[in-house]
């Protein structure tokens, strides 16, 4: 029962501290989620890691300046250090032969080790306010207080405003750089905006998930969202919702047991989302596999009925009753495959089955004729309209159905193709 009591206590916001923590987490999650889509589509996933690690020395210096954990000082320090990291990465790959990924790794380790040294110095100092600074490593949402919310909201506002005002810029540049340049869009400017968005969202995001897991908070919700939609706008919204939801769950879990760090739990929940999306979304693995199997089955049953019909036609003896073995003699394949094909044909009432004997139905004959017609149309289409030799193309009625749409079929038939089919079949 204590779980339900905790649940109600947590989400009823009786506790003002919890209210601030949850509100803060929602703002953070949503901000990072929507920026994440831009990060993934601009292929800046690696640079996020460099920036988040670079934020640590910035925060330490910010703390040294102010002497207290003032969120304004810490955030500004973090942002300056983040920007310095972006500049360092660019500069290194520009002036030397160091490749971009290498310069990202170099910059990441330089800044992070510097940050860890500063952290050590602060911990050994007399300043008693320093406790909790190490929480930036893995994140602790419980430390969010009312004054943090102001900073979060301002940054949230800036991110939303930038995304709305420059929405077209992002969309066009991320999709087609060359085209963007031809309509007079400055690539440098938009790339700068993107870096800016990453830096400001990182500087607040590390409060909940920490430096080490920051890139996951940006990248995981976005890549999950991209599985579900073909619209840039919807991907942004969906990613924001994924991140928000996971953040709140993560915070709740770490509230249940005090020793649990927030960041790792948020990322675990996010990863479940991502895993689920990879398997079960419209573009996911399961959907792909099902489509493949369906196609295979359709092809198989189409082929079986077509070959039975052709055999009957050449003997001029229709609706003959056959045993399973006799069908296997006409359409040679493994028994299990043939069985599954026959099952489908029976289900659609193309084949009749009584006392171990199979025979083709009227409906089956119509179906077989239709398949043959489509095959001939396909060859004609390839040969006469697309001007390619059909024998150079992989065979398969799945492509036929794709290319010979009902409207093309009608068009082809209108062009008196039927006549050709009749003559061809007579030969």
């Amino acid at each position: 029962m204590s779980f339900w009591r905790d649940l109600i206590y947590f989400f009823s916001f009786q506790d003002a501290n919890i209210k601030y923590v949850v509100l803060g987490t929602i703002i953070l999650g949503f901000t990072c989620g929507i920026v994440g889509v831009i990060v993934v589509l601009s292929k800046k996933a690696l640079i996020v890691d460099a920036i988040s690690h670079a934020v640590l020395p910035g925060i330490c210096i910010g703390f040294m300046f102010s002497g207290v954990k003032n969120p304004i000082y810490l955030s500004i320090g973090g942002m300056i250090a983040g920007a310095a990291a972006v500049y360092l990465v660019d500069w290194m790959s520009r002036i030397s032969r160091i490749k971009k990924d290498a310069s990202i790794a170099i910059s990441l380790s330089i800044f992070f080790s510097f940050g860890v040294i500063l952290l050590n110095i602060i911990q050994h100092s007399e300043n008693s306010n320093q406790s909790g600074l190490t929480d930036f490593l893995f994140g602790k949402a419980a430390t969010i207080i009312k004054s943090d919310l102001y900073i979060f909201s301002i940054i949230f506002g800036i991110v939303i405003l930038t995304l709305t005002v420059f929405y077209q810029h992002f969309k066009i540049l991320l999709f087609d750089k060359l085209f963007a340049t031809t309509i007079g869009l400055s690539e440098k400017f938009v790339q700068g905006l993107i870096s800016g968005l990453i830096i400001i969202s990182t500087s607040i995001g590390i409060q909940t998930v920490g430096i080490v897991l920051m890139s996951a908070l940006l990248i995981t919700p976005a890549s999950s969202a991209l599985f579900w939609t073909n619209s840039f706008k919807k991907a942004i919204l969906l990613s924001g919702l994924f991140a928000t939801f996971s953040s709140v769950i993560g915070v709740f879990i770490s509230f249940l047991s005090t020793d649990m760090p927030t960041g790792p739990w948020i990322i675990v929940v996010l990863s479940l989302f991502s895993l689920f999306s990879a398997f079960f979304s419209k573009k996911g693995l399961v959907a792909k596999k099902i489509k493949l199997l369906k196609n295979k089955k359709k092809l198989l049953s189409d082929n079986i009925i077509k070959i039975i019909y052709e055999a009957e036609k050449s003997n001029n003896q229709f609706k003959k009753q056959r045993t399973f073995r006799e069908i296997k003699n006409i359409y040679s394949t493994s028994s299990s495959e043939l069985n599954s094909g026959i099952k489908i044909l029976k289900k659609h009432n193309y084949l009749k089955h009584s006392q171990g004997l199979y025979s083709i139905t009227d409906k089956g004959i119509i179906k077989a004729k239709k398949i043959i017609l489509l095959n001939v149309l396909w060859e004609f289409y390839m040969d006469k309209i697309l001007d390619v030799n059909p024998y150079h193309l992989p065979n398969g009625s799945e492509t036929i159905n794709q290319i010979i749409t009902p409207s093309i079929e009608a068009e082809l038939i209108k062009r008196n193709i039927e006549f050709k089919i009749i003559t061809k079949n007579k030969n």
Partner: protein
């Protein structure tokens, strides 16, 4: 042979583009009148695409002066549409066919403005012109190569420009698509637009273009196709001059040393 044009829509003077001291386009001078379908023809590596890109200002030029409508390209950029080779696109980007063609409207408008119904009408019409009206909601990666090419042509149509630069629009597509695209380009020409097409299939040059530019690093010939597309000029474009271009390259390198 470079035909002089009295009232040109585009003039190119002394254009040289080089990558690391290697001239890719060498001292190009030509002009083209309005309302022509212009083929840019030459062997691989002759600088056909580079010529287009440098006119568009997409790559820096070493020397040269280009006038479009007697003005600098930057001030007439909304009157010029460019169809790049398909490789420049991120195929995983979440965008439908309609989204992609919509992007063409932003070439005409301020990027901060939202599209209105008239814009969407133009987008639909552009898709109809390339016979892709049944594919509005398809993701671009779901299309075949020829269909993708048609979508990018539709995007250029939606730009409603006066000059079209197309980088190998006919490569890697089937004949049916090539015919569709060619009909669309013919229609543009009828409307008085000027179209530049980078092309590598010599067999169709005579039928497709009324103006031809033969290029092999330098401009071999530029003028009406019937005057330019001769044995003599073709021989110079495809073999004779290959060695000359290489010699020039070597001389240039030597003079740098």
């Amino acid at each position: 042979m470079i035909k002089k044009v009295n009232d040109p829509i585009i003039e190119v003077h002394n254009l040289t583009v080089s990558y690391d001291n290697n001239p890719v386009v060498w001292n190009a001078n030509f002009s083209v009148p309005q309302g022509k379908m212009v083929g840019i023809v030459g062997p691989n590596g002759a600088g056909k695409s580079t010529l287009l890109k440098s006119i568009m200002g997409l790559i820096p030029r070493s020397t040269g002066n280009i006038k479009i409508f007697n003005k600098n390209i930057n001030s007439v950029i909304s009157k010029v549409a460019y169809v790049p080779q398909k490789e420049s696109v991120d195929w995983d980007f979440p965008a439908t066919v309609f989204d992609v063609v919509e992007m063409g409207r932003y070439g005409k408008k301020n990027l901060f403005k939202r599209l209105n119904n008239n814009d969407r009408k133009i987008v639909s019409e552009s898709l109809e012109k390339v016979k892709m009206e049944n594919y509005h909601d398809y993701h671009i990666s779901e299309l075949s190569g020829g269909q993708q090419q048609r979508v990018f042509i539709a995007r250029a149509l939606a730009q409603e420009s006066d000059i079209y630069f197309m980088d190998e629009p006919f490569s890697g597509i089937d004949i049916a698509t090539e015919k569709t695209i060619f009909q669309v380009l013919l229609q543009l020409k009828k409307e008085g637009k000027t179209i530049f097409v980078v092309h590598h299939n010599l067999q169709s040059v005579m039928n497709y273009f009324d103006w031809t530019i033969l290029i092999n690093k330098r401009i071999i010939a530029s003028g009406p196709t019937s005057d330019v597309f001769t044995q003599e000029f073709l021989r110079r474009t495809y073999d004779g001059n290959l060695t000359l271009a290489e010699k020039t390259e070597k001389d240039l390198k030597r003079s740098n040393l």
